[in-house]
């Protein structure tokens, strides 16, 4: 369906451009407002660019509020989610490259968990963590989200394409199974793992529900839970709210824009189409 002439092309470009403007408007407004002082951010008519740009809200986040603690907690969660990704990769490799008894059943069990909505497991998982004494602890926040069945599925799909001969040759050379996995399989799986690392980072950086349910103590709050608390406690301080939001959103934006090519291509690799 090619376009017939320049006039049509101009119309479609304009439509896309206006749409793009609408989509990015909330982000632009967020960033600009975060540099306005408390009075200017509420002024009518609003200013587009801050009259006297200020960093006071950002300084506030770290001096009067505990965004430093939230940031450390969020990074801890990001770190453990990468270990979760390693476990997912191991499982994907196990299902993709080994023959063993009951393999189909185990794999079906893994796939079935994808169908279970989070709301159904929310309350019982809390009760299980409570029985294990893990409520209000970092372990309790991390454990429920560690394994993602969908990721195991995607990684397995990739692992299947690795030739058996390659692994057999390494075994004949006397390499151990763990050595093969770390030195041969992981480098081979780089294209799909790169995408998974980025998506896992974004997902864990944004994680909200489990920290919210499990953490009673502000010491365990993540950035997103801290931001929700900030909104409750500073209802009309929009400059501060926008600074907190910007602090959460901008790192992800930067990472996404740098790696967007891999993510978009990852969708084709993963064969959802």
């Amino acid at each position: 369906m090619d376009l017939k002439n320049n006039f049509e092309r101009a119309i479609i470009n304009t439509v896309l451009f206006i749409g793009g403007l609408l989509v990015s408007l909330p982000f632009v407004w967020m960033i600009l407002s975060s540099f306005k002082n408390e009075r200017e951010v509420l002024s009518i008519p609003p200013t587009l660019f801050p009259n006297a740009p200020t960093f006071e809200h950002y300084i506030n986040l770290f001096t009067n509020l505990n965004f430093d603690v939230y940031l450390v907690n969020t990074l801890v969660i990001v770190f453990f989610s990468m270990i979760g990704l390693l476990l997912n990769t191991m499982a994907g490799y196990g299902f993709g490259k080994f023959q063993f008894k009951g393999k189909e059943i185990w794999f079906a069990v893994v796939l079935l968990t994808m169908m279970i909505p989070g709301q159904v497991t929310m309350i019982p998982t809390y009760l299980i963590l409570n029985e294990a004494g893990l409520t209000n602890s970092m372990a309790g926040i991390i454990l429920p989200g560690l394994i993602a069945a969908f990721n195991i599925f995607l990684i397995r799909q990739f692992m299947v394409t690795i030739p058996d001969d390659l692994i057999e040759a390494a075994r004949l050379d006397g390499a151990g199974e763990m050595y093969i996995f770390l030195k041969l399989i992981i480098p081979l799986a780089k294209p799909i793992l790169a995408v998974q690392v980025i998506l896992t980072f974004i997902g864990s950086w944004n994680s909200f529900l489990w920290p919210l349910i499990i953490a009673n103590d502000e010491k365990l709050y993540t950035l997103s839970v801290g931001l929700a608390l900030l909104q409750d406690q500073n209802v009309s301080n929009y400059g501060l709210q926008m600074a907190g939001s910007t602090f959460m959103v901008v790192p992800v934006l930067i990472i996404f824009i740098i790696f967007q090519k891999h993510i978009v291509e990852g969708f084709n690799v993963s064969g959802i189409k």
């Binding site: 369906m1 793009g20 909330p26 393999k103 809390y126 009760l127 349910i213």
Partner: protein, 294 residues
């Protein structure tokens, strides 16, 4: 010895993940099934002997609970308005992106995808500001063209639409990529043949593009539907289900019963109702697709 070791190797690789999935996905389903037939609450949590088996009482009570019924009604409104809007808008974006030059397509693909990777709390905080009745940007822009201020989040019905608008804005990205991949896999010669036959654009869209994309469309509709049935974070952060429970959803109701009122048994029962609705909706989709194929 060696033989024994090699038999255990695959289990070594899969077991950590399988055990964790068992504890945090399968065990919860069983626990949930049991406690939804009990009156388990905070005192039951401290002392198991306080818990008693009450049969279907929770389920009976749910369907007499105004808040639950309202949440269910709201969820249906979210689905009925939100799902078509989300599917159609991401489809149209994909269609437009297919028509423009490569660099335009790449650039705008990134821009339209960005909301899907950003944090929902941050987004809700920003949109609450935009929606603010007095100081928000939206009402200011409306005042420029002499419109009265709209109570974006203060009126129960308008608040639902405001949340839907924000959720559509946020959710377009993934569906758009799936549609785009499907569009790109349609062989160009179909369109060339249609050109020779003198087909117009509308005919090409309805006779070639749409039928070739039926699987992608089906996949997007099913996943979008399941997602919207679980609508949770948007009302949770922006309105806390208010005003007058006007934006409360089933998922939020479950959260409130479980974690604000500590009515674990009652909340678990509500979660099973949601689960059954999701299963029925998905089965219905599969059935519709089957009858379409015939």
């Amino acid at each position: 010895m060696n033989r024994f070791k090699s038999n255990l190797t695959p289990y070594f690789f899969i077991m950590p993940a399988v055990i964790l999935l068992g504890i945090f996905s399968f065990l919860p389903i069983l626990v949930s099934l049991v406690i939804s037939f009990t009156d388990m609450n905070l005192s039951g949590l401290a002392n198991w002997s306080q818990i008693s088996f009450i049969g279907f009482d929770n389920f009976v009570q749910l369907f007499q609970d105004d808040v639950f019924l309202k949440s269910m009604g709201n969820t249906f409104i979210y689905v009925i308005i939100g799902v078509p809007l989300a599917v159609i808008s991401s489809f149209v974006i994909a269609l437009l992106l297919k028509l423009v030059s490569d660099w335009m397509s790449t650039t705008f693909r990134v821009i339209y995808y960005v909301p899907s990777v950003t944090n929902i709390v941050a987004i809700a905080v920003v949109w609450s500001f935009l929606y603010n009745q007095e100081y928000g940007l939206f009402n200011y822009l409306l005042s420029l063209v002499n419109f009265d201020a709209i109570p974006w989040l203060e009126d129960p019905f308008i608040a639902k639409l405001s949340l839907i608008a924000m959720a559509v804005w946020k959710s377009n990205g993934v569906s758009m990529l799936i549609f785009l991949a499907a569009l790109q896999s349609i062989p160009n010669m179909y369109y060339e043949a249609a050109d020779i036959d003198g087909a117009n654009r509308w005919q090409k869209l309805t006779k070639i593009t749409l039928p070739s994309m039926s699987f992608a469309t089906f996949f997007v509709v099913v996943t979008t539907l399941i997602g919207w049935l679980q609508f949770f974070e948007e009302p949770f952060v922006m309105t806390e289900g208010g005003p007058l429970n006007g934006t409360n959803s089933l998922a939020l109701f479950i959260y409130q019963e479980g974690f604000q009122y500590s009515e674990f048994g009652y909340g678990a029962a509500a979660s099973f109702v949601l689960f059954i609705i999701i299963i029925l909706a998905t089965l219905l989709q599969f059935k519709l697709r089957k009858s379409e194929d015939n």
